[in-house]
């Protein structure tokens, strides 16, 4: 569950109630879930068809995430910008450290930490999103020590946009899409993303 609405108001997995009250939504709350979860459900269905229990299907999803996560650390060129602890001094992936990190990211997903961020949650999208965002933020923080030309910036923004949900209009400016993609497109005079235009027109 990522959002809920009940007599106390809106609840989100990330923010709790808007009022700041701690707690879970009431039993009769309206609840919404991340569509990013549907692919995990489909994989679980295949596992159940093959004779797995629900617990075994869930464990396989976690194991698949971990394997994909570690493979992505090797495949995504910018991965060390977000997951430095997963790489040894020789630059190779440290598998023991990567397994620990994968466990932390899986836990964050289960708690809703990626549900407003990613269109689909896999080890690959998790590593790519974190790595691209960290790279762009590193450049923004100190362009002199981490220079990127306009073409490189645009390419990374394009890759990041493919991965992410738009965020809400009131949260986007302060979250990853706002502080990276929107900020950099504006700085380069390359237009802007308009994820809410369809909502406004409705």
């Amino acid at each position: 569950m990522i959002y809920a609405f009940d007599r106390k108001g809106w609840w989100s997995a990330l923010g709790g109630y808007r009022s700041g009250a701690v707690g879970r939504p009431s039993d009769d709350a309206e609840r919404w879930y991340s569509p990013a979860a549907v692919w995990g459900l489909r994989r679980a269905r295949l596992a159940l068809r093959g004779g797995a229990s629900i617990a075994e299907a869930a464990a396989r999803n976690r194991a698949q995430f971990q394997a994909d996560f570690i493979a992505a650390l090797d495949a995504v060129p910018e991965a060390a910008n977000a997951f430095r602890s997963c790489f040894g001094a020789d630059g190779a992936v440290d598998h023991a450290a990567a397994e620990v990190q994968a466990g932390e990211e899986w836990s964050a997903w289960l708690k809703g930490g990626y549900a407003v961020c990613l269109r689909i949650f896999t080890g690959g999208t998790c590593v790519a999103k974190e790595s691209l965002a960290a790279t762009l933020k590193r450049h923004i923080a100190d362009p002199a020590s981490y220079p990127m030309d306009a073409g490189e910036i645009l390419a990374l923004c394009e890759r990041l946009t493919q991965l992410m949900l738009p965020f809400s209009p009131w949260e986007r400016p302060g979250c990853t899409p706002g502080v990276t993609i929107d900020r950099l497109l504006r700085a380069l005079s390359l237009g802007c993303e308009l994820p809410y235009s369809a909502v406004s027109a409705a």
Partner: protein, 35 residues
């Protein structure tokens, strides 16, 4: 990004956003093929 996007949302704005991007459990079940 204009200033309106930083304004505090009302319940209808939140509902429009949530309903557009997130699913009730029935929709999730339907999409995953659960009976």
């Amino acid at each position: 990004m204009n200033d309106e996007m930083n304004a505090a949302p009302d319940d209808d704005e939140i509902r429009a956003y949530v309903a557009r991007h997130f699913w009730p459990i029935g929709q999730l079940a339907l999409a995953s093929g659960a009976s």
